[in-house]
Symmetry: C2
Subunit: 173 residues, 2 copies
């Protein structure tokens, strides 16, 4: 009997369906995320935040300022500095001056960075497609639609502090 069963089995009345759903969703997410992190480490010697930062830059060919990266990755500025430093030292991204504001600059993928990201993104897609291989296209669409409502509800339920909250990496809508 696994956790879900232990927590639900004997006292169904105390654990409404929403709670069962949450535990299952948490398990699924963690199973997939753990594998993605491990695979990024093993195959590309990188981490999820680094992959996330490069994914943001790949979407913005002209580059992004640090505060834009911070907002989109939903982490505070100090972290972005650290990740960027690593990627710069490996030649995957570069810092370019912003005309008219000498405090800021754009962070941009280098050609090497674009090449590496393309390879990672291709693999990443395979991992994810595999993870949901048990579902039909229609079922995937249904899940996506229902979770869209959950997401909207979670984002509006609380005014939510202006600052970044834990990494919502890669999601934008």
């Amino acid at each position: 009997m696994d956790k879900e069963a232990r927590l639900q089995g004997t006292t169904p009345a105390e654990h409404p369906e929403a709670l069962r759903l949450w535990l299952r969703m948490l398990t699924c997410t963690q199973l997939i995320e753990t594998r993605v992190r491990a695979a990024l480490r093993e195959q590309f010697d990188t981490t999820l935040p680094r992959f996330d930062l490069m994914a943001q830059l790949e979407r913005a060919p002209e580059g992004l300022k640090m505060n834009e990266l911070s907002r989109r990755m939903m982490v505070t500025g100090g972290n972005v500095t650290g990740i960027t430093d690593q990627l710069v030292s490996e030649g995957l991204v570069q810092r370019l001056d912003v005309a008219g504001d000498r405090r800021a600059y754009r962070v941009q993928l280098t050609p090497a960075g674009r090449a590496q990201f393309a390879a990672m993104a291709q693999q990443h897609e395979v991992w994810i497609v595999d993870a949901f291989a048990a579902l039909s296209e229609k079922e995937v669409a249904t899940l996506h639609r229902l979770l869209g409502r959950v997401k909207a509800n979670s984002q509006t339920a609380v005014p939510s502090p202006p600052g970044p909250s834990p990494h919502l990496s890669l999601e934008t809508s």
Copy 2:
């Protein structure tokens, strides 16, 4: 435009539905988990792993051995020792000798621990029910069923190392 939109919007062909679903699911999970962690901290001055440990013990009135806790929480033993130490020092759990094996003992909720867990679990349920309030009962059931297939697929896809992988807390089936 949030992360999901940025990552999908301009190149739909490169991002199959499974990838869109994964990003959305990750966002939902993180939104909810972040709120649960913050609320546990604010209202009960505790953490998710501590809540998890107590939830395991609440399911096992006779108590659990450290290695059973480690396996169920899916974290390594050293972590369980640390969390247990904290809870013991606060009088929420106790270590009891196991007859016939002087190396081991059972960890059990104290009456104070049971009382506090009951209060936390009640609140926790409210937070979770709220998080999924946008869905009907039928839709919740649909999500639960579809994610059950995803979970089964993820658990069987890889033989999975015998050791614990990141916390799958609370889920059992």
